[in-house]
């Protein structure tokens, strides 16, 4: 099957900066694909390569089997929801949404009808006459979404679209985006630095660092079976364990990772386990995060709220089920 988006050794260098470095990537049609990484990791440049705002320095990019190098953005059937929405301040909300249809030469009545439908799709019916400046952040974001979707793009690109929203709104939009994507069947490519967002929304996640993809997989893969220390650390802040430590439990001299919620914290003298000192506790509501120091090795554990906690400075015994200890393929 043809990929919706395919990168073959695609690179984008700015002078000596390798923003995107020989990336291979295949995104399936209809997939909700997340690009996750810290800022400056190349995920946004990848998105801009798909949109056509950047051209690859080397390698090739195809969209539904068609080569896209040298094709300007306005000839790609791909639309973008920008990070700060980029709504046209001099146009009404309706004309903003109808913009793509207008430049394609579709008549006023028809494009306004389609724009109104798109506005109801994002649950903003009746907002057409307003100016973007009169809307809240969440509403602007919906308008930006409607403006992209009205063109029925083959691929929809979303650049940190929820970054500027407050927590409650962000959670609502996550669910809405997901159900919208299911209903429309359009390929969504979503850039975020928020691992929770990527894991909860995407079918597959690519983790970026330094212009390269560290790992591509389902959210479960990425979370449970990180391939590298970077992925383990960045996605859900796993405990990264050095080879000497791992050898004691698995017999193999390899780097390992252990999720903070897999660690059980017990009182001293409960038999076998790792002895550690409790450095600090951090109350998070449903859970409590413990910072621990096991002979210089810094560990985090997450325990459910209501667990009887030792006092800070006390020595505790850490135990974990060995099957949760994940061995990583690559050292870095």
């Amino acid at each position: 099957m043809t990929s919706a988006v395919s990168f073959q050794k695609a690179s984008r260098h700015f002078g000596s900066v390798r923003a995107v470095d020989a990336v291979d990537l295949d995104i399936a049609p209809g997939e909700f694909f997340a690009m996750l990484g810290p800022s400056g990791s190349g995920k946004t440049t990848c998105l801009r390569l798909i949109a056509g705002f950047e051209q690859p320095t080397s390698g090739s990019i195809s969209i539904f089997g068609e080569r896209a190098e040298g094709v300007p953005p306005y000839r790609r059937n791909v639309n973008t929801v920008f990070q700060d929405y980029a709504l046209f301040p001099h146009l009404s909300v309706l004309d903003n949404v109808a913009y793509g249809l207008m430049v394609k030469g579709i008549g006023k009545a028809e494009r306004h009808k389609a724009a109104k439908e798109a506005l109801s799709l994002v649950r903003l019916p009746g907002y057409g006459a307003r100016r973007p400046g009169q809307l809240s952040g969440g509403q602007r974001q919906r308008v930006a979404l409607a403006r992209a979707l009205v063109n029925q793009p083959k691929v929809l690109l979303l650049d940190e679209p929820l970054g500027a929203l407050d927590l409650k709104l962000r959670e609502n939009m996550q669910e809405e985006l997901k159900s919208l994507q299911k209903a429309l069947g359009i390929t969504f490519v979503f850039v975020t630095h928020d691992q929770g967002e990527a894991l909860s929304m995407a079918d597959r996640v690519a983790v970026f660092n330094d212009g390269k993809i560290m790992q591509i997989g389902t959210p479960e893969d990425i979370y449970q079976r990180p391939k590298t220390r970077f992925v383990a650390d960045f996605v859900g802040s796993s405990n990264v364990l050095p080879p000497d430590f791992v050898q004691r439990y698995s017999g193999q001299h390899r780097w390992g990772s252990l999720r903070p919620e897999s660690i059980r914290v017990g009182r001293t003298a409960s038999g076998e386990g790792v002895s550690a000192r409790l450095v600090s506790t951090n109350y998070l509501g449903a859970t409590t995060k413990l910072a621990l120091d096991a002979d210089g090795l810094k560990l985090h554990a997450i325990v459910p709220a209501g667990t009887a906690l030792p006092v800070e400075g006390e020595t505790v015994m850490l135990t974990f089920n060995r099957e949760y200890l994940h061995l990583m393929d690559e050292p870095v």
Binding site: P73, Y74, V78, N79, T80, A86, F88, Y99, V103, K104
Partner: protein, 322 residues
């Protein structure tokens, strides 16, 4: 610890004492009553503008409702609209029409020349190139207006560098063909309306470039990307996004170029034909002819035209993007 020595935390009071004296008292007063400060700051310029500037303008305009006694040449200080009637004499209407046409053409040409320069400066020029841009725009404004106009007279003269250059390029026939045209032509560029037009555009251009550049600077770059992303070709992006958002700047610039051309009397005096512009008419009516009322009536014309111009620009939505 040095920090504790610098800020004795335990002994410091929660409310600091006032610094005392007139300055301290005034600072506290202005903080409590910000409007007093505003009033004090605004009073001098408002008095200057209101009395000296607008007041004298109204005194001048009042003159336009007087008339001149044709026998004695004395001003008859009685309200009359006769002077305004004189404006509609064929010769005077001709002057008004000529000036307005010139101002409109100069404005259009300024927009056409200024936009690409302003676009480059706003979108691409950074650091040193931006400094060079401002220097290039402002430098001509630092030298005398008269010197520049006389320099242009030499450039445009029959023996001037432009004729010489065109002769070298074997393009003299283009110039001759243009100069043989009615109205715009003449013996040489320096004594034709074309010459007047070129110098007007040159002299007023900075006043168009700067506001257009400021307007374009405020257009976020991602709006251009968004337009392109939604399928608009560069031309469509220009028409639908860049131009409407730059329009307030263009209108601001055109207020300068249009009104400055309407009122100028030196450029058409030095470079151009013997046919008059409004500024020259005002100059000769209040000077040699001694007809202050008609001179005053002539000065009303640009004010009324600019009023209509701004009203029309607003109706067309030129200020919507502000």
């Amino acid at each position: 610890m040095s920090l504790d020595a610098a800020m004795p935390r335990a002994t410091a009071p929660a409310i600091l004492p006032g610094s005392g004296g007139l300055r301290g008292t005034l600072s506290d007063l202005f903080w409590r009553r910000p409007k007093v400060l505003l009033l004090l700051m605004l009073l001098p310029p408002v008095l200057w503008l209101g009395i000296v500037y607008i007041g004298s303008l109204f005194a001048l305009l009042a003159q336009s409702f007087f008339s001149i006694d044709e026998f004695s040449g004395l001003i008859n200080r009685q309200f009359t609209l006769k002077t305004y009637g004189d404006l509609f004499q064929a010769a005077n209407l001709d002057i008004i029409l000529r000036t307005v046409t010139m101002a409109a053409l100069v404005t259009l040409a300024s927009v056409a020349v200024a936009f690409p320069i302003a676009y480059y400066a706003a979108r691409y020029a950074r650091g040193r190139w931006k400094a060079l841009f401002y220097l290039g725009i402002m430098l001509p404004l630092w030298s005398s207006y008269l010197v520049k106009i006389y320099a242009w007279k030499l450039i445009l003269a029959k023996e001037g560098i432009l004729t010489w250059l065109l002769a070298k390029l074997h393009l003299l026939w283009v110039l001759d063909a243009w100069l043989s045209l009615p109205v715009v032509g003449g013996n040489s560029l320096s004594v034709s309306f074309t010459g007047t037009f070129i110098v007007f555009v040159y002299v007023w251009l900075p006043f168009m470039i700067l506001p257009v550049q400021a307007a374009l600077e405020r257009v976020p770059g991602n709006l251009v990307e968004a337009s392109s992303d939604l399928g608009a070709s560069p031309g469509q992006t220009f028409r639908n996004v860049l131009f409407p958002l730059a329009l307030p700047g263009i209108v601001a610039g055109s207020i300068f170029t249009f009104s400055l051309t309407l009122g100028d009397y030196i450029i058409p005096q030095i470079i151009g034909t013997s046919r008059l512009f409004i500024g020259q008419a005002v100059y000769s009516q209040q000077g040699t002819a001694g007809n202050i009322p008609l001179a005053a009536a002539f000065t009303v014309v640009p004010i009324v035209i600019m009023g209509f111009y701004l009203w029309g620009a607003k109706r067309m939505g030129a200020f919507d993007a502000l």
